[in-house]
Symmetry: C2
Subunit: 181 residues, 2 copies
DNA sequence: GTTAGCATGTAAGGAGTTACATGATTTT
DNA sequence: AAAATCATGTAACTCCTTACATGCTAAC
């Protein structure tokens, strides 16, 4: 995997908050957000639904038509009231210094919180990214061969682009505040 | 972690092929190559040295001075003859469609093989990256909210930059061939 | 009606991180 | 000489991936 359990849970809840859905479809959605590098495996997905059911954060409305037990038809899930509360509470306290894929999930859910929290997350991410850039620049590359140096040079560029992107996101949020939210 | 076991082994062997070294130092080196996102943990590092010792790919020359058993001084390792063979054989058969960090290790070791194999690896990576870009472009973004769309747009850009970088690497290798290796 | 893809689910095995534990070396 | 950092090592815990298994649905 690459997605931590709490993050996968968050991604599933986030998807369900936009309407009922089922496992296979949710997976496709999550893969679009974080999956340009890897796919969420079914062995992670279904146990996650089980977890969320057990905690009462989602509920199982059965299959669409037949409603047979043990059937392999689509099982439609939707967010419960506690699920909504949990989601809102999680989004308000996420840690912006997270692995790339985990942060992607956070970013994709930015539309579900207020501007204040969005700025907390974006600012936080901007800081850790800036720190990473500083770290890379502090490395002495002497002793590295041509290809290793090229790799570090490229990595630096990727991080610098990331930083510029976050800066533009922060700027957009702040100008939205200026214009009166 | 994020580095697979075989990749970590490869990274360690690669470092040792440039001269004897010890765990702590090797870790710093590997972190420079793949570590701008995460660090190799000691719980992964030392068991890896154990593995390589057991397979006879590296050998333990003892500590620098005292040579006490059970001591916590630097333990210097160096590559054995079979270690060299193994490394060369692995590099010749690596899979360029690998997770980002695993590929980074491959890339950093490109200087240890011939141009032919370098082109195999770079070409292979170029293809999977191009396929990823095509996949992203095939996605219908309708139904996604503003932030999710922005995330996908940014992801596409990152992948496109990656592709351009690989293209330039391939071009450099090919022009090296033209100029007579 | 048969093939291919949609859809759900489980279990074993593998593998990493975290936390813990200890000793050596350098700096203040 | 105390504190900080370098350095090595182990084990429990967590948790993911892989492989397996089954049923439904649409297309040819």
């Amino acid at each position: 995997m690459v997605l931590r359990q709490p993050t996968l849970d968050l991604a599933i809840l986030g998807r369900l908050s936009q309407g009922p859905s089922y496992g296979y479809e949710v997976r496709k959605h999550v893969n679009m957000v974080v999956g340009y590098l890897h796919k969420v495996s079914f062995g992670s997905l279904y146990p996650a639904f089980r977890r969320l059911l057990d905690r009462g954060l989602i509920c199982d409305c059965g299959t669409e038509r037949p409603l047979l037990v043990g059937s392999r038809s689509r099982r439609i899930y939707h967010l419960t009231h506690s699920g909504e509360e949990y989601l809102a509470q999680q989004l308000a306290t996420t840690d912006p210094s997270a692995l790339t894929d985990d942060f992607s999930v956070q970013f994709s859910l930015l539309g579900m919180t207020d501007t204040r929290n969005r700025l907390r997350i974006l600012h936080g991410r901007r800081e850790v990214t800036a720190a990473r850039l500083t770290m890379i620049d502090s490395w002495s590359l002497t002793g590295l061969d041509r290809y290793s140096k090229e790799l570090v040079r490229h990595s630096r560029e990727v991080v610098a682009d990331e930083l510029a992107w976050l800066d533009s996101m922060v700027a957009a949020e702040e100008s939205a505040i200026q214009r009166g939210e």
